[in-house]
């Protein structure tokens, strides 16, 4: 009866934060079962965290002001600026040529497509590590989520079902992309691996492209344009596995 409390305060906070060692789960659960007021206390702590996210997560979705670009603006010297301008001009020339070839003959990725896949990869990297709030609207409200994102994008978007490939929908969020809305759906498998499907309105009118693949820091992405929407499926998966999921997504969207 008057035994030591089976768990300590540090473990209770670890429980709140989802960082409790699995071996201690049973002990903590038993303790909370026996102490409803303690469970209430920890539930309140979690509610506080959820409120923090509700209050401050919008900062994640805002466009970053120009003053926060790297290298820092204040440190720009005329010389460095010239060098950068030269690089930028070279890139634009190269990009322009690439775009021209793509349109004319080669079916290479358009420059706009590259910007698109970069946005998709950046959004993937930012949100995938979120432990408890990876999405704005969770999969429990899937209908609401899809309707909301469709309305904001001005096009019918869908969250493909990937259970057959053992990925469950976690939910989605709305993101800015060059001042336009983009949608991100997040999926997770039993091993905690996460995929994101990034969707935005067509980049330059209606057209279709083949699947293309891009990779950055070990995160691969298949991307394609299908009618008025552009898609990018990103994940830290082997390329064949990601390819398989991308095809499943494509097939569901084009039954």
């Amino acid at each position: 009866m008057s035994a030591e409390p089976p768990v300590n305060e540090v473990e209770l906070h670890a429980w709140v934060d989802g960082r409790l060692e699995p071996a201690r789960h049973a002990a903590v659960e038993a303790y909370l079962e026996a102490n409803p007021s303690e469970r209430q206390r920890l539930t309140d702590y979690r509610a506080i965290d959820a409120e923090l996210h509700r209050l401050f997560d919008p900062a994640l979705n805002e466009p970053v002001p120009a003053s926060l670009k790297l290298p820092p603006a204040r440190r720009w010297t005329p010389r460095a600026w010239l060098a950068r301008a030269a690089v930028a001009a070279g890139f634009m020339l190269f990009g322009g040529a690439l775009g021209w070839f793509a349109n004319e003959q080669l079916r290479q990725p358009l420059v706009a497509d590259r910007a698109f896949v970069r946005q998709a990869l950046a959004a993937h990297v930012v949100y995938v590590p979120e432990v408890r709030h990876p999405v704005e609207v969770d999969a429990g409200q899937q209908q609401h989520l899809v309707a909301w994102l469709s309305k904001r994008l001005g096009a019918t978007v869908q969250a493909p079902a990937l259970e057959a490939l053992s990925f469950q929908l976690l939910g989605g969020r709305l993101l800015p992309a060059d001042g336009k809305p983009a949608a991100q759906f997040m999926y997770q498998d039993a091993g905690g691996r996460r995929l994101t499907l990034y969707v935005r309105r067509g980049l330059d009118g209606n057209r279709e492209t083949a699947f293309r693949f891009a990779e950055q820091d070990g995160i691969g992405a298949f991307y394609w344009v299908d009618g008025e929407l552009a898609y990018a499926l990103a994940g830290d998966l082997e390329r064949p596995a990601l390819d398989q999921v991308a095809h499943a997504v494509y097939q569901q969207l084009n039954p």
Partner: protein, 168 residues
Amino acid sequence: MADFARLVTEQIPRLRRYARALVGTQRADDLVQDCLERAWSRRGLWDGQGELRAWLFTILHNLYANSVRRQAGAPAFEPLPEEDLPALAPSRHEAALELRDLERALACLSPEQREVLLLVGLEQLDYAEVATVLNIPPGTVMSRLARAREALRRALREPPRARLRRVK
């Protein structure tokens, strides 16, 4: 170095979120900009392997701690302007009131407690990372976290307008 700039740029939204919670919307971007400048000037010190995010949060923390020391006594937190409150579909007004309560309660924490609470609860750093970022022992992280959470819980439950339970 292009890589460094890109990796840091990916972290900017998170730095802004944290800074906003820490010092308020008005001063957040100045703090982040100072942080980016310092990170850039010290980019040679980042080994390219470690957790860049924790490294950036460390820089931001040092800048913040300096500013707190400089203006000890001055309020370190400003309320958000009304338009910064997130748009919430159901019962927006009531939710906004609850968020106001949370801001007020946050403002009552000491800077040290607020940092630990935000790094754990909002930024989801693990405890060891928080200890590294703030340069304090792990035990201090836990005691500050416990005190901050309990202070917020009391502040939100006890005043007449606090309705934490409704939030679920």
